[in-house]
């Protein structure tokens, strides 16, 4: 380890810090670094493939003799298979394999059996030929019903269907009551958020092929090729290296594709029985029922503040359901965003007979921030304080203070009071704000290999994933920067477990975890090229070789070689260096801040809410490619808008079935809902790794629902506490229903 002094911080707040960095790593990029390729708005490397239809997704994989699989799923929310007859299905035309999957089902859509046939239509016909004799049990899908002592037990065991009941951080109830009693102003509000599904445009799916040597090749629409590899290996008692998982492109991953899913095992079993490769893609309906979801929440927030606008108490009682599995914890923002002397968090996960939850873009934070920031606005109202001023008084992070300042100016915050009536008759406008908070600093683990060939070609290899986030492109930019090349001179290979190990792409971890290893590997490979060049000059001792502008140069040695010329000095086919991501340094600060402003127009007759504009101010350390970062942020904002206004899984209590398992009744924001979006990337030199890059996928969705809810409340003068904010709720808030 060596000590290095670097300059970190943000405008008006820079400072020098000393960091301890591994000797093998290049000096960290900091506020003083002048970078040529990093920081450029460059189009994605795979752009041509995506716009021409050449990009291959799991759904597009076609193998010799490949069969198509379909899954028979339970129509009941709770049932036992008494008997199942698969024989007729086996004899159907084209059918090559039929397997039974499960006899106990706990939710509508749980898999029961699966078939593989030559065509999809044949597989569907075969499903229809399977007869099942059911013993239907009692189910419960309603959150509050499930909490009752006499509710049907979802997983057996204790009642009510709760687990993980826990208090945290943590003042006693008595202490909270005292603090609230002593407060100048208090609020006591309950917020509700629905279950929503990821609805990745490409559903979960795998293509599986058993190889002659008993190993397995799996193409999977996944955010984590290595996690799938390990899961499959465990399921079939193989060694990890006997399983290869590939994912060149994927049609969206927002958290539900972070591990091995059941469909992959089903496909592999069918393929084994049929002795042929099998493709199994979930239908849209299956994706809604069994592909994962964001759990619901009911959050009661009691909060108080003193006469100076300082928080005195934050008390959260929450529960929510992630169906048959998965936690519904949503206290992160309330636990971390504001300073508060008395804080209590109590949470329960409630089991219901519905598909299991999965990580979904900023798990818990989206629900939690909506409720917290709604509560904060209400409290600001009671105190007669400007919402931003109130926030600043309780937020120790001065970076976010600066972001509020910048955002407020763009959003026209000072004219907020006049905005309300500016919409004309029958309409009202409102402007709201909410904060973001997230980690995003990444962590150790990923390994990257950089191969520089004699012909000058450069390949960066890493078993990470590009979910559409732009990973491929930013990795190429980082390597190009280090090697003094242009991005088109670097090829990036990813999405394959045959490449060096990398972690799953979740938690906004990929860019901050992988880019430092790319730099280290590129620097190490470059050192080998320099060695080769020096070796070709008798007696050369120069230490000032540098790669820049497509050249390798040394003043002392009087050398200036074109990149190809320099690489021609490599002996053998190439130089290949691998580097591992080291732990984060101390640097500037952990985590990202950020805030968003929403301007809405509400139709007071119909209750329709239109978001007119979002101003989003975010920091994510060094921005490798502003265009791609902006795309990430816009994506987060629109998903947040969709969550705030449109999306909800609707289950029928009587049957336990999902009533809107499609893409028309399950509404997702489309072109007509898209607001004007202004993104401000707040420059922060982070200095916690050699690139200082941080993740932005999740921070961008966290504040949106709260900002929209606050804007609606500003417009109406009444608060809607339940998401999604549909017209009926707006009208109810206005007393029109």
């Amino acid at each position: 380890m060596g000590k290095r002094t670097i300059r970190v911080g943000y405008a008006g707040n820079y400072r020098e810090v000393e960091v301890n960095t591994p000797d093998a790593e290049p000096a960290p990029w900091d506020a003083n670094s002048k970078l040529a390729v990093v920081g450029k708005r460059l189009p994605r490397l795979e752009g041509k493939d995506k716009v021409t239809g050449r990009a291959k997704y799991t759904a597009d994989v076609k193998l010799e003799g490949m069969l198509i699989a379909r899954v028979l799923r339970s129509p009941y929310a709770r049932a036992t298979v008494k008997s199942i007859d698969l024989e007729k299905a086996r004899k159907m035309p084209g059918v090559k394999a039929v397997i039974e999957v499960d006899r106990e089902v706990r939710f509508h859509g749980a898999p029961v059996a699966a078939v593989a046939a030559e065509t999809e239509a044949q597989a569907e016909d075969a499903l229809a030929a399977i007869t099942v004799e059911w013993s239907v049990g009692a189910h419960v899908v309603d959150l509050e019903e499930a909490r009752k002592p006499d509710a049907p037990r979802v997983q057996g065991g204790k009642n009510p269907n709760e687990r993980g009941n826990e208090a945290q951080d943590t003042a006693t109830e008595d202490a909270c009551r005292k603090a609230l009693d002593a407060s100048h102003s208090t609020i006591d509000l309950t917020f509700r958020t629905p279950v929503v599904t990821h609805s990745c445009l490409e559903s979960h799916g795998s293509v599986v092929r058993w190889e002659a040597d008993g190993s397995l090749t799996v193409w999977d629409s996944t955010q984590a090729v290595f996690a799938v590899r390990d899961g499959v290996a465990r399921a079939f008692q193989l060694k990890a290296e006997q399983v290869r998982v590939l994912k060149e492109h994927m049609g969206g991953g927002f958290g539900s594709k972070l591990g091995m899913s059941q469909h992959t095992v089903m496909a592999a079993k069918l393929a084994r029985e049929a002795k042929a490769p099998v493709k199994l893609l979930l239908t849209r309906k299956e994706e809604h029922l069994a592909g994962g979801n964001r759990p619901s929440s009911v959050q009661r927030i009691r909060a108080g503040a003193d006469k100076d606008g300082k928080l005195t108490c934050l008390w959260l009682e929450s529960h929510g359901t992630g169906g048959v599995a998965g936690g519904a914890w949503c206290a992160g923002p309330l636990a971390s965003l504001y300073a508060c002397p008395t804080r209590r968090i109590w949470h329960a996960d409630v089991m219901t007979n519905a598909g299991a939850a999965a990580a979904f873009r900023a798990p818990g934070h989206v629900q939690g921030m909506f409720a917290l920031e709604s509560a904060i606005d209400e409290l600001a109202g009671k105190l007669n304080l400007d919402p931003i001023e109130f926030r600043k008084r309780n937020d120790a992070n001065t970076l976010r203070h600066s972001e509020y300042g910048e955002g407020a100016q763009i959003a026209g915050w000072e004219k907020r009071a006049q905005l309300r009536g500016s919409a004309g008759p029958g309409k009202a406008r409102g402007l709201g704000v909410a904060a973001s908070i997230w980690g995003g600093g990444g962590g150790p683990g990923p390994q990257v290999r950089c191969v520089i060939s004699r012909d000058g070609s450069v390949e960066v290899q890493c078993g990470t994933q590009d979910l559409g986030t732009g990973t491929r492109t930013i990795l190429a930019q980082v390597a190009a920067e280090e090697l003094g090349l242009t991005v088109n001179q670097v090829r990036v290979k990813l999405g394959d477990t045959a490449l060096p190990f990398s972690t799953g792409s979740g938690g906004s971890m990929t860019a901050p975890s992988v880019t430092p290893a790319v730099r280290s590997a590129a620097a190490a490979a470059l050192a080998r090229v320099i060695e080769a060049v020096k070796g070709s000059i008798p007696g050369c001792e120069a230490t000032d070789f540098a790669a820049r502008g497509g050249k390798l140069e040394s003043k002392t040695a009087g050398v200036s070689l074109g990149w190809a010329e320099a690489c021609a000095k490599i002996s053998g086919a190439n130089v290949s260096e691998q580097a591992t991501r080291s732990a984060n340094y101390q640097g500037f600060r952990d985590g990202t801040a950020g805030c968003q402003f929403a301007e809405v127009e509400v139709d007071l007759e119909t209750g329709h809410v239109q978001v007119l504009r979002i101003v989003a101010v975010h920091d994510c350390g060094l921005v490798v490619n502003p265009m791609l970062a902006e795309s990430q942020i816009c994506g987060g904002i629109i998903q947040g808008l969709s969550y705030a206004l449109l999306e909800q899984r609707v289950l029928d209590n009587a049957t336990g079935r999902m009533m809107n398992a499609n893409l028309s009744d399950y509404r997702i924001a489309g072109p007509k809902e898209i607001p004007d979006i202004r993104v401000v990337l707040f420059d922060v030199a982070n200095g916690r790794t050699n690139t200082g890059v941080m993740g932005i996928g999740e921070p961008s969705i966290i504040p949106t629902p709260g900002a929209i809810a606050n804007a609606v409340s500003h417009a109406l003068g009444k608060r809607v506490t339940d998401l999604p904010i549909t017209p009926d709720k707006v009208l109810a808030a206005l007393g029109k229903k």
């Binding site: 291959k56 759904a59 445009l201 490409e202 049609g251 994506g635 893409l663 997702i668 072109p671 007509k672």
Partner: protein, 201 residues
Amino acid sequence: MPADRPDGISRRDFLTVTGALTGAGLLAGKSSAEDGAKGKGPAGLGPEAVGYTLRVNGEDRAVSAEPRATLLDVLRNSLDLTGAKSACDRGECGACTVIVEGRSVYACMMLALQARGKEIRTVEGLSRGDTLHPVQAAFIEHDGYQCGFCTPGQVMSTVALLEKTPSPSPEGIRAGLCGNICRCAAYSGIFEAAAAAAKAK
């Protein structure tokens, strides 16, 4: 067998099968529908595969598919044109958008047999060699995508829109693309790309 198609499939055969599946209302040709209803003549096609040709991207392509196969099925599975994607298979998302006779259609909502004799264009047919169609180039330049799964559909909808309305207003762009969902929500880039492509023409 009275053939009214060069490929030997009579419209009546076609209707006997498809009428039951989709309702004859979807289909043009009222007199044929009546013929089919009489239940005379040859039994309906299928369920086995039948052979016919489709005109795709300016080429006649021989197809063998079950009569119930959708255009999307046939493009993806018989013709290896996997650009158009299936994301809902029921006309709700636009991932499967192709252009038939100059109009953007959901390929998942059309039987392949219905597309016989029609000019079908898919995303694979847009570029000329290495030269991208202006809409494709604009999607790259304006980052009108993230994962790219909806992109072939978005591109085709944009092409169809601009062929009909060369200079759409911002609202016109939204209206023209409102049949295409992008879950990654790359809309800002998509709208910019559409506007830029309109200018570039």
